[in-house]
């Protein structure tokens, strides 16, 4: 391993402009990838994990310049390109056409869906050989020989050269896609969920094939997945992405045994464990990933975090605090519709006792947000009841004001910085800001 990493991504951003009107005036941007940085050493596999919509695939296509990144640097020190000339830039985002074409020889990609990643009107052999042709190998027989050898390497037979994609199974097609990614002998392969479209039974085969080839040819790999158990098998290091940012990065072993970000913790809790005696800590993330157009302030995960920080003035159980914040967000963003709930509850005749109806409505609203009948902190309980009263009376403004003022978490006010936990393990959470371990953090009082 050289001292220089093969690939260094620095503060990479990809924003999709949102335009409006005839003149395509830009009114905003979807910040799909919002400043990510990581390194991949030679021969190393970095896993990039996260929910769908968190920007993993966009990160991949921007790094490999299938899409133009908005800003940032992608420093690539390929085996060949480093030798070419010292004064030429090695920043992929600044490559001109000729450099980019040379870069294509060094970095290739495997796509998620094997059934759509091969041209249905070309034999699989010519699909693979086309890369050789594009890069100037004009001898047809030579191309054929190389590709046939390679097809055998990935577990197919040389005679498959002349067959069409529809004659293969999904796993076989992914082997062909792997052959296509390999045929130019690249240094880096970006694998965008290469096994998630495959049968579970075939996954292991493809993964071990990828592993073998990687070892044999010393490939570096950026492995994108939403499946933590696959990542655990394949990757040397893992970067966890949430809403366009990397929230935690570190060695796989370290991440899996000692996660330092609540989001990682939640992802890991979803991995099935074969040991029945080991109690599973089931963390359920509620809601969906917020829109990247308007990401939450402070820590982007605070809207869903189960460890969201309570300020000192409250003394609530953690789950209650989470529910209370959800309730507050519901009221402030007006996604909570009191009138509809009232209508739904009205089963009997309209001239029912108003007080009874209101009480039922209050109870229903609490239940909707998993709030207990009384909160463990009396001060908080009083504020909550007051805001519920306002809501029932139809005074939205007052309720919003009251809740927004009373229940505030530091997580939404302050953006956390990366904290180093040693050995390249870094996380981005207020709880670990002072290098404290997440597990010893005081916040999670009771679950």
């Amino acid at each position: 391993m050289t001292e220089r990493p093969l690939l260094s991504v620095r503060n990479l951003k990809k924003h999709y402009p949102i335009t409006q009107g005839i003149l395509s005036r830009q009114v905003g941007a979807a910040r799909a990838v919002d400043g990510i940085s990581f390194d991949i050493a030679e021969g190393e596999t970095l896993g990039l994990v996260g929910e769908s919509g968190c920007g993993k695939s966009t990160a991949a296509t921007s790094i490999i310049r299938l899409e133009e990144p908005t800003s940032g640097e992608v420093i690539f020190n390929g085996r060949d390109s480093a030798a070419v000339s010292a004064d030429a830039t090695n920043d992929v985002t600044k490559f001109d056409d000729a450099q980019l074409k040379a870069f294509r020889r060094d970095a290739q990609m495997i796509f998620q869906d094997p059934s759509s990643s091969l041209d249905p009107r070309m034999t699989v052999g010519s699909s693979v050989a086309e890369l050789l042709e594009v890069h100037g190998m004009s001898d047809k027989q030579r191309r054929r020989d190389i590709v046939q050898n390679l097809l055998e390497d990935v577990g197919l037979s040389a005679s498959d050269y002349d067959r069409y994609p529809h004659e293969f199974s999904g796993g076989q097609k992914q082997r062909i896609a792997l052959a296509r990614a390999l045929v130019l002998n690249p240094d880096l392969i970006v694998a965008d969920e290469p096994v998630s479209a495959l049968d579970v039974s075939i996954r292991a085969e493809i993964l071990s094939l990828i592993n073998d080839l990687q070892e044999k040819y010393g490939l570096s790999m950026l492995f994108i997945s939403h499946d933590m158990s696959v990542v655990q098998d394949v990757c040397d290091r893992v970067a966890v992405m949430y809403l366009g940012e990397i929230v935690e990065i570190g060695d796989t072993e370290e991440i899996f045994t000692n996660p330092q970000h609540p989001y990682t913790e939640a992802l890991l809790s979803a991995v099935p464990r074969p040991d029945p005696r080991r109690k599973r800590q089931d963390i359920e993330l509620k809601g969906i990933v917020p829109s990247p157009t308007n990401p939450p302030s402070g820590c982007r995960f605070h809207t869903r975090c189960h460890r969201v920080i309570q300020p000192d003035e409250w003394d609530l159980e953690q789950s209650e605090w989470r529910s209370l914040l959800n309730f507050r967000d519901g009221v402030v963003e007006e996604s909570l519709d009191v009138e509809t709930t009232r209508e739904m509850l009205r089963t009997g005749p309209a001239d029912e006792d108003v007080d009874v109806a209101d009480a039922r409505l209050r109870a229903e609203l609490r239940e909707e947000y998993d709030l207990p009948e009384t909160l463990s902190d009396q001060q908080a309980e009083r504020t909550l009841s007051e805001s519920l009263d306002h809501l029932v009376e139809g005074e939205y403004g007052e309720a919003q004001e009251l809740l927004a003022e009373a229940f505030v978490t530091p997580c939404e006010q302050e953006e956390p910085a990366y904290a180093d936990h040693g050995g390249g393990h870094r996380s981005k959470c207020l709880l670990t800001n002072d290098q404290a371990s997440l597990q010893s953090a005081p916040s999670l009082k009771n679950d």
Binding site: R121, M122, M137, S138
Partner: protein, 465 residues
């Protein structure tokens, strides 16, 4: 470098050597071609606008006025040199059979054109030197070129990919009406292309007018001289004129065969232009996107709202009715639908992962469009074709029927309109070409249906679900 190719592996390829041996990019030749075209266009405009009354090069003291034929020839030779010959020479040894074939064949044809147009100066029939009295017209050359394109880029690929072809064929064969239609069309176009080369155009024999078809009869009141049996004042048809004769005594069967050639010319040439321009505009529009897309598609809007018929009438009054003009006009004003159709298909295809994979291979835009987008939109192009061709044939017949066609030629439309006044007693003059036209168009409809199913199994699945 591995000496034994069979043992060469991908990880031992010396890319630096390949890069060193690779031919130069064709960027310069493209630029040279565009520059030459631009120069030609400037000269042409100068000839039209500035030197309209005098010889083209009068300003420099050369009294050579360039005729239209030379303009077209210069353009053809230029395109042939830069788009055909130059790439062929550069990639000698590696060029595909299709490309080599079409370049060589087109070169041969251009040689004949030069021989015909410059050496013979169109004074004597083209092949009189070998004793064949067949004069080739400009439209024939266009027709020949479109046949070459068809042979090398539609027929030859089918032969080159036997497995794909047999799959399409087995799918296509399931549709029986389409099979019958295919045989019928092959007959129509085959006879149409070959027939007129050997059969003379029927002479007007006034005394033999209104001969009925075989097995039919006509009252002797209308016939001057009955070739067949006469009985009870009725003239019976004979095998001499299987489909009867016209009011000028011309054999209708021979005229229909000549009409087949005209229909084939309309079908091939017009379609070549429409599909060529439409596919180019459609794929470029889909792939370039942004402003290019916007400009091209708005132009398509303008063209679709352009009254082609009125333009045709205008040209008709200025230059007179001419089949070549009609075909060119039809071709250059009917690609808009194809362009839009191809664009939407190409847009859908360009989102597929295999296109991303090809982009990632470093392939040029031209290559992506030529090798991946167009083959994958081919099924929609073929189906579009089967709608376009009947529309062209009908358009010609309609204009001819209205008397707006080229009355010099024996198209089916002209023949139908000739029999218009004699419908009461000699309906075969109109009926015979009418029926052939009807079945031709029906055949295209059946074939289009079957081709869609065979080429695009997904569309079939969607239609059935």
């Amino acid at each position: 470098m591995a000496t034994k190719n069979t043992s060469e592996r991908f990880d031992t390829v010396d890319w630096d050597e390949i890069a060193a041996n690779a031919p130069d990019g064709n960027g310069t030749s493209t630029r040279a071609y565009l520059a030459a075209l631009g120069l030609l266009a400037v000269l042409f405009v100068y000839d039209l606008v500035v030197a309209s009354g005098e010889a083209t090069f009068a300003a420099v003291g050369v009294s050579y006025d360039v005729p239209l034929f030379h303009w077209v020839l210069a353009f053809s030779l230029l395109s042939f040199a830069f788009l055909g010959l130059l790439p062929l020479v550069r990639n000698r040894g590696h060029a595909s059979a299709n490309f080599a074939g079409i370049v060589v064949a087109t070169g041969a044809m251009l040689a004949v054109i030069i021989y015909d147009g410059i050496y013979l100066a169109n004074a004597v029939p083209t092949f009189s030197a070998i004793g064949w009295n067949y004069d080739v017209t400009g439209l024939d050359y266009l027709f020949g070129f479109s046949l070459l394109v068809f042979a090398f880029y539609a027929a030859l690929p089918l032969y080159q990919n036997p497995r794909m072809t047999s799959y399409y064929w087995s799918e296509f064969r399931k549709n029986r009406p389409a099979m019958v239609s295919l045989v019928f069309l092959a007959f129509i176009f085959g006879v149409g292309i070959v027939g007129p080369l050997f059969i003379n155009y029927p002479e007007a024999e006034f005394f033999r007018k209104y001969q009925p078809p075989v097995f039919a009869t006509v009252s002797m009141n209308f016939v001057l001289e009955c070739v067949g049996q006469q009985a009870n004042g009725v003239c019976h048809g004979t095998w001499d004129y299987p489909l009867g004769t016209t009011n000028q005594g011309r054999d209708i069967l021979t005229m229909i065969i000549y009409g087949m050639q005209i229909s084939a010319k309309i079908a091939f040439v017009t379609t070549l232009i429409a599909i060529g321009v439409g596919t180019a505009v459609g794929t470029i529009s889909a792939y370039a996107g942004g402003l290019v897309d916007e400009v091209l598609m708005r132009y398509v809007d303008i063209m679709q709202s352009f009254p082609t018929l009125i333009l045709y009438l205008l040209i008709l009054y200025i230059f007179g009715a001419d089949l070549t003009l009609f075909i060119l006009l039809l071709g250059f004003f009917s690609w808009s639908g194809t362009a839009r159709y191809v664009r939407s298909n190409a847009l859908a295809k360009s989102q597929e992962e295999y296109i991303k994979a090809v982009q990632l291979s470093g392939a040029s835009l031209y290559r992506i469009i030529r090798r991946h987008i167009i083959p994958n939109t081919a099924s929609s192009i073929v189906t579009d074709l089967t709608l376009l061709i009947p529309a062209f044939l009908l358009a010609e017949a309609q204009l001819a029927f209205l008397g707006l066609g080229d009355s010099e030629i024996a198209s089916w439309g002209v023949l139908i309109s000739v029999g218009r006044n004699d419908l009461s007693f000699a309906p075969w003059i109109t009926l015979a070409p009418g029926i052939v036209l009807f079945f031709t168009i029906l055949a295209f409809a059946f074939i289009g249906d079957a081709a869609l199913d065979a080429l695009d199994p997904e569309a079939q699945a969607e239609a059935e679900s």
